[in-house]
Subunit: 136 residues, 2 copies
């Protein structure tokens, strides 16, 4: 298998040109499972690994990946977006002390009896965020 071919295929499938920046970010995101990044943290990691990419491109790329369904955007704090590489149905812990977001195994939380949505609307998705903090 040629190097990077997985990233190339993934990008081609969603109609994005496999540029150097997009492939590098795809590898950072998808070589390990269940990552939770912000544009800033992903950009910092890229810099650490000597990948040349601007912060604007990181923002644009994350938005394109989200639109393509490769990552999911998670909003838990005002003024900051997290992107989750796990796009399956699942929920989150959010540590309000250090801002760390982590997955809750699907089996560990169960929402029973979903409410009837307001007239004229349908349910897109149910997000459960369990806010945690340091034990007192």
């Amino acid at each position: 298998m040629r190097p990077f071919s997985k990233s190339i295929d993934m990008l081609r499938e969603v109609g994005l040109r496999p540029t150097r920046q997009r492939m590098a970010l795809a590898r950072l995101l998808f070589d390990h499972e269940d990552r939770h990044v912000t544009a800033e943290t992903l950009h910092a990691q890229a810099r650490n690994e000597e990948i040349k990419v601007s912060l604007a491109t990181v923002y644009n790329t994350l938005n394109q990946f989200r639109d393509a369904g490769l990552v999911r955007e998670v909003v838990v704090e005002p003024g900051r977006s997290y992107f989750d590489t796990n796009v399956d149905n699942h929920h989150h812990f959010f540590n309000v002390d250090d801002g760390v977001l982590s997955d809750i195994p699907v089996t560990d939380v169960t929402v029973t009896s979903l409410p009837t949505p307001p007239a004229g609307t349908v349910i897109d998705r149910v997000d459960v965020v369990v806010r945690v903090s340091k034990r007192a």
Copy 2:
């Protein structure tokens, strides 16, 4: 009962001076139940009702009310904070098409089998957001 005495008492109880601006905003917020406002929408409403208050004061007041436990901050969209006058345990619908946030009656959603929080942390609160959109 003297006018405004409820607002005065409420503010005194949480250690905030009952200024003209804080009393006016308290009345807008608490004279009707279960309001969901942003700083901008509350400021707009104040202007409509001829209440003189700056946007900065609306922001500061909402933050003070939140710190005092009079309102709850709800984050569902990047770059915008909603404040909910219902501080009891409950959940939300969020209409992604028009940005309208509404309460889910407590009895209409049940989260069973809460997950074990990460080591060294305790659960502060569980937020369920049901994202809805116009029926296709």
